[in-house]
Symmetry: C2
Subunit: 203 residues, 2 copies
DNA sequence: ACCTGAACACCGTTCAAGT
DNA sequence: ACCTGAACACCGTTCAAGT
């Protein structure tokens, strides 16, 4: 074939195919990607910088799925809650993407801009300047951990044979199941964290 | 050679070698592991159930590094804080292990027992039984996210070229650097989360 | 500029053969 | 029971050759 008149490949098509593979299998390989796109493996390398480049495409993509308009809410803790929910919701739609992107350095322009806005909001709310980053990091850690929880199997704690954990077992039975379980833990944790942040402002 | 009189391999030696590789390179492969142990790749498979089995060995190992004696502290929130610090400290000693184990299902007998104790402590402290799991999950999510933060490069937010984030940049400069940065965020988040949990008990 | 086919070093896993 | 050597299917990446 060699160079066709209309390109067979572009970064958007690569991103979409990679996302499908991750959604379906939890991971992706370059050959599987090429197969799905009806193209040779080597062709993919003309559009991205290796497999790592495809992971970066996915990282950018998920950043662009987030709705950051809640950042304009008042007061500051409503903005923060809205941001956190939007962040987690993007991953909730593609839970298996989380493990792939779980290294925490944030580079995505959209997400950086969102954190810039959050930082400003926190400073205006009266948080000491030297604490702003710690507050944001703590929130980010909680969101990321909660996103990972979405990718986990239905049960978070699996009591192995020979281990006696009657309390845990009965509380697991009393707790919400399925999607509700992760949602409930996220909301309870988010409210608690924000409540704690509010207390910091007064202290 | 074939079967030697004293076995060349056992699960402990495999675990130790895998841990060294992860500490040094951030990952491990079975051939590299075998090389380090002076053994053929195939030999490893007589002692573990594939590469996944080695990951399980590491998961068990890290669980056994945690000191759960703080769980006996009074009151309940001191126990919870001690547990969280012990959990994170184990990963702090081997930060690159976190990504490898970041899927959240907990199976390790030691860690399950610790959560059993936590669950009991929370119920005795007065938390509604249907909320116990959500409280534990929220804490676990925060700890896991914070552990991932330990494996991240020094900078959590990397402002890319062309993006303007003056606030974030200046707050990053005002915040603690290096190890202190992650420690500070963890402690601030932990205190906030526990503060929020305390408020739940009163409401 | 973009796609192909072939090549390379590497990985996870299995298995018959040896003690 | 435990280790080896060889084999297999697979992966990430490169590169010369074609349009």
């Amino acid at each position: 074939m060699a160079r066709p008149h209309t390109a067979l490949l572009d970064r958007d098509r690569i991103t979409a195919a990679a996302l499908e593979l991750v959604d379906q299998t939890g991971d992706f390989t370059v050959p599987a990607l090429a197969r799905r796109l009806g193209v040779q493996t080597a062709s993919v390398y003309h559009h991205v910088e290796g497999r790592a480049g495809i992971v970066e495409l996915l990282r950018d993509w998920i950043g662009r799925q987030m709705d950051f308009s809640p950042l304009e809410l008042q007061p500051w803790d409503a903005a923060m809650a809205g941001f956190a929910r939007s962040y987690r919701a993007a991953f909730a739609a593609h839970p298996r993407l989380v493990t792939l992107l779980a290294t925490s350095t944030v580079r995505s322009p959209a997400v950086i801009t969102a954190y810039e806005r959050m930082a400003t909001v926190l400073a205006e709310a009266g948080f000491p300047h030297e604490d702003v980053i710690a507050v944001l990091t703590a929130l980010e850690n909680f969101i990321l951990g909660s996103a990972l929880d979405l990718a986990a199997p239905a049960v978070m704690w699996e009591v192995p044979d020979g281990v006696d954990a009657p309390g845990l077992t009965s509380f697991l039975a009393a707790a919400p199941q399925g999607t509700d379980r992760a949602d409930r833990a996220f909301e309870l944790g988010l409210q608690s964290l924000l409540g704690g942040f509010r207390a910091l402002l007064k202290g």
